[in-house]
Symmetry: C2
Subunit: 352 residues, 2 copies
DNA sequence: GTCGACCGCTGAACCGGTTCAGTGTTTCGG
DNA sequence: CCGAAACACTGAACCGGTTCAGCGGTCGAC
């Protein structure tokens, strides 16, 4: 115990096996150049010695992999801690990577633009073999940046074909339309959507689907307000909406944290959920099931997306030509926070 | 744009400056061996060429740093996504690391024992310069493991002197005692604590303080039940406690997620909070402020702990002798979820 | 029987840094 | 004016892998 021995190198294995470094390298990497018998012997010695490749040395060789991929998360730091989405995503990505011994580098950047700097550094320091990107923005500079840096990348959630990168996309519009028609069927007419930041492409996609569906369903009083995904933001905006003259009878939130905040505001203002107000969250998580009433939510398998996007990135790194893939659309899970308006068979309540 | 040039090496700089590789290395690392004039010239050229050190090459040299530290998180994956503690910790650690260009490797392991394997791999692959460890267990094998692997480490939260590792510790007992006396002063006699997993040392420390303070305060009906930090676990146990014959009038949870779950159960069972039941959460987060009633909580600066522990690890890596440090104790933030029992001036209610 | 192909392996270069012994020059004390 | 020390810098080894040209031996085809 604890003799702190120098870790074994392939040179040690070579000496023990009485062959050259090169032969050991071939044997350990399963490449031709050694007989099956010698390979077995070398593998056995490597195992006995407890050898593990030095990623640093591998990375140094031309074309070598460093065995790590990166994820930059660029959202307000204070919301991150409570936003289930990212940890679930990270957890999913790692599940997939773990089997191949690839590590995940995580960077949380606070101000916009810093993320580009991180990609640049990772590329120039050869820190990662590739990156997973999320939250595509309007006029996003990242696809072009990673392309010019030669950094392999896969996008999670963008529409197909962002900057020529393969991506894992979802039809965000379908669940939005489903929610709108569901609320309309419950008798709601004034539906407000508390959206994510306007610069995100998925925010716009959802917004477009929302208004299109609202028109279809004949909801004249549908509109979107942009927020920042934080609980504070959700609280502030919900307060304003519920205090307005023609207050909405249903609120659709772009993340679960804001939805929970909205539920709190309703309680605080004495607005009964779901009798007087229906609430729908996007991205189901334990949070939605724990609060009372539990939140009707659009549920996606975020960890599954993480696994899938990690697999795609792996194929990109293998040099395969990777096509974009589509995930199943989110499903609406009706729970206690939505229902027909009580005492208003036809239309919305009018607030004082 | 995008010519994908080979990244410059110190050899390129040496050629441009008309000096040797060695001189460039000295100049770039601020070490003696070159004149101030030559150093300036070399630094200028490096800047012009957009040079950045290859960490892989640096790591290869004896005594070289790889410029990354690791964090293994070993808690049930499904609770992680919703547990604010870790993302806040990660966020804090990174804030500190970012300034020195050090990256964070994150590993989420699901089953116990896998974490040891990760440390072993990181050490043998020279993936990280050091690690931050959390959640010290009773009979924890990790301190001895990292010691024998020669992997520098700092512990977050253990009692001082775990396995000879420097640690950042807190007096977990003080806030627990404060909570107990606070609840006692409100008139509560039957107080139950929904604790974290029993194998964590901090769970035991809090438990001991809880029972000691309960005795001091004359609470005869105080007891602890162990849970797993998940919302489901919190729900299940709270249901059982509230359905018991002599149901507690106050519940103290070891994390915020379970506390939110408990609040939900109370609502579902028609138990009014805080009139009939007081709830206290450990680890304040946005969650505690968003639900209604908002949760009284013990608040710590988790991100701050992350920064501090990252600084400590940095000093360990510099070869300094690092002493353990103590953080301010958590503070009790009374909110809407705690209050005197209504209609029971002296003692607890008796349930049907 | 000879030639060529192929197999199994070796030796050396290479990746991009760090470090150290050594060398030529300057400085300075005596 | 000489010798030693200090300084600025070079050249080469080294870290732990990968890769490639080359080499001797075996085998099969003709």
């Amino acid at each position: 115990m604890g003799a702190l021995m120098r870790r074994p190198t392939i040179m040690d294995i070579a000496r023990a096996a009485g062959v050259s470094k090169g032969a050991v390298s071939y044997a350990l990497n399963g490449r031709p150049g050694v007989s099956e018998e010698t390979r077995e012997r070398i593998l056995g010695i490597a195992r006995d010695l407890g050898w593990a490749p030095s990623k640093a040395a591998r990375a140094l060789s031309p074309g070598g992999r460093v065995g790590a991929v990166g994820l930059v998360v660029d959202r307000p730091a204070r919301s991150l801690g409570v936003e289930p989405f990212f940890m679930q995503l990270v957890s999913g990505i790692e599940t997939e990577l773990a089997s191949s011994g690839v590590d995940l580098l995580l960077q949380v950047t606070d101000d916009a633009g810093a993320d580009l700097e991180v990609y640049r550094r990772w590329a120039s320091e050869r820190r990662v073999d590739g990156v997973v990107m999320v939250d595509l923005r309007v006029d996003d500079l990242r696809p072009e940046a990673v392309r010019s840096l030669g950094l392999p990348a896969v996008f999670l959630g963008g529409p197909d074909g962002v900057g020529g990168l393969p991506c894992l996309y979802t039809d965000d519009g379908a669940p939005v339309r489903e929610v709108v028609h569901y609320l309309a069927a419950l008798g709601h007419r004034r539906v407000a959507r508390i959206a994510g930041p306007e610069e995100f492409v998925h925010t716009r996609v959802r917004g477009a689907a929302f208004h299109e569906a609202a028109t279809e369903a004949g909801l004249t009083g549908a509109y979107s307000v942009h927020a920042d995904y934080t609980g504070e933001g959700g609280t502030r905006i919900t307060r304003r909406l519920l205090a307005s003259a023609h207050r909405p009878t249903a609120l659709v939130y772009d993340n679960d944290l804001m939805a929970v905040a909205g539920l709190g505001v309703a309680a605080e203002m004495g607005v009964d959920v779901p009798a007087q107000l229906s609430i729908v969250a996007w991205d189901d998580s334990a949070l939605c099931r724990l609060v009372r009433p539990s939140l009707t939510a659009i549920s996606r398998d975020v960890a599954g997306h993480g696994r899938q996007v990690a697999r795609m990135l792996g194929r990109v790194l293998d040099g395969d030509r990777v096509e974009s893939e589509e995930t199943p659309t989110g499903e609406l899970h009706p729970r206690g926070s939505t229902g027909p308006l009580v005492g208003h068979p036809e239309n919305a309540v009018t607030s004082g």
